[in-house]
Symmetry: C2
Subunit: 343 residues, 2 copies
Amino acid sequence: MASALNDTEVRLGHGSGGAMMKRLIDNLFLEEFGDEAALPGDDAGVVPLGAGRIAMSTDSFVVTPQFFPGGNIGRVAVCGTVNDVATSGAQVAYLSCGFILEEGYPIDRLRQIATTMAKTASEAGVKIITGDTKVVERGKADGVFINTAGVGLVPPGVDLSGTHCRPGDVVLLSGTLGDHGIAIVSQREGLSFSTTVESDAAPLNRMISSVLAAAPHARCFRDPTRGGLASTLNEFAEASGVDILVREADVPVRDQVRGACDMLGYDVFQVANEGKIVAVVPADEADAALAAMRADRYGADAAIIGEVQAPSIEGGHTVRLETPFGSRRILDMLVGEQLPRIC
Amino acid sequence: MASALNDTEVRLGHGSGGAMMKRLIDNLFLEEFGDEAALPGDDAGVVPLGAGRIAMSTDSFVVTPQFFPGGNIGRVAVCGTVNDVATSGAQVAYLSCGFILEEGYPIDRLRQIATTMAKTASEAGVKIITGDTKVVERGKADGVFINTAGVGLVPPGVDLSGTHCRPGDVVLLSGTLGDHGIAIVSQREGLSFSTTVESDAAPLNRMISSVLAAAPHARCFRDPTRGGLASTLNEFAEASGVDILVREADVPVRDQVRGACDMLGYDVFQVANEGKIVAVVPADEADAALAAMRADRYGADAAIIGEVQAPSIEGGHTVRLETPFGSRRILDMLVGEQLPRIC
């Protein structure tokens, strides 16, 4: 049997491929993620999957700080990839998980992160079936970076893409905007509000499945993470060659988030979210899609926020925001970097 | 259309989720990896795959330096994961690819790495179908870290595992030991030999398929990377509850690698390889397996190096090396770290 993990800090030997690494894997990662596919200790997890098309996605997570109100890097690492795979309409099934650790990182924090990942994977109904651990010297990374990749089977007939938006389609948002970004920046900068803003990080694969069942002709889903809602809508508009109009008054934003954005000079439409989904559906399926979102535990504040329009300029693809006063402004994609290392 | 990528260095905005990141993806990654599955710009690649069992594996790569004789981090990043998936007997089909970049990393080096990844993936017959880019501030990473995850379909009836070794089985090694580790340390320490030692990094999925066709009852394959051959054989011995005997005289090692190990005090059995495979096969399939290895472009120096034996101690699992003088020593798993950041 593997000997106990007595170290309190990550050491270079934990990435060696030898006995120390085996102790870390056996006593920490396998204890948290333990799955029959991973248990023989082989280099690849082998698991059943039906025939057809698979969806695959990956994200590396470098968020700082690693612990923040509403979660930690482990929750974001599972949710981010689960949500990316789910936006294809796939039934997300399996995750891989690669850690890059900085020498000296506290083992108890690493365990908390792994525990959170296991819980979040369980909540999402996905299994972590294979992993990797690398360790770099002090000063060559920043605590812990996590990569996850995910795969799932796309049901027959499902064909979702940002290229599928059509004039007349309706744009839905599954909840309040900007919570994750403001939670991170508040923690980082030591800001305090009357109420703590918590990260919204959440697995949305079940919500997407419900919406797809309710709105079978849905065009596309996307989680507005880095770059926020503005980037997501501009991506859709460009990919489909359409304009999109968003009514600002219909976009749910918490008061504290709005206040923090005003104070910090952020545009809430460009702030990252980790537990929200944007959906574009045909107009005659919009009410059903909205009801499905609202029925989900993470969708209580879902709203119809805008519509797809024919391009106002030949070959153009403009996203506009209609303010509560009726004026319109262009909602641009973020240029440069507003808030680094948000996920 | 996307505007040109005029930057010469990675900037924080290249990881923003906004317009700068889109420029980097469109002008560098999609140009190199461009695939119909990735082209619509959606968050997940959607690709066909047959029914049955999939194998999935992941590795993060932090090798330093990033460029070395015989390759760069990009070649290792593709080969490492292709080989890990292939050891399950799967037909490796798809890779994901996640970059963590340090602000200031030269764009032309990043492009060289991406070009190498694309070429290596093409050589292996696999497609990079989805990716991610994160950027961290100067001093918070070390140039470039790459994660790849891979998936493939395991043919019906194939069941390879380190737990399957049986007394009487034969151990094969597909070529010379230690080339990758010595290439890296030579580059890092500025050592020079009469002939340059090149990294052996290579995709071995075709070789494994050939060996499996020639030796259909093969027990297991593994690429002896971190921890070297010693770790791989100890993992097999422990997983199967067997002893393994290796005949040192039969293990191919280049003269320069042997010399470098002597000079540096390394045990060549613990030095990392990135283009070698260890196979355990039943004795009556060993010659066929060896012939299949040698027929592969990366297997010219393949050899039968040892055999699986019943445990000499009840419940034990000892790996022994028989020296050319007939004495035997225990071949232990590496403890701690010999040579950090080899892959």
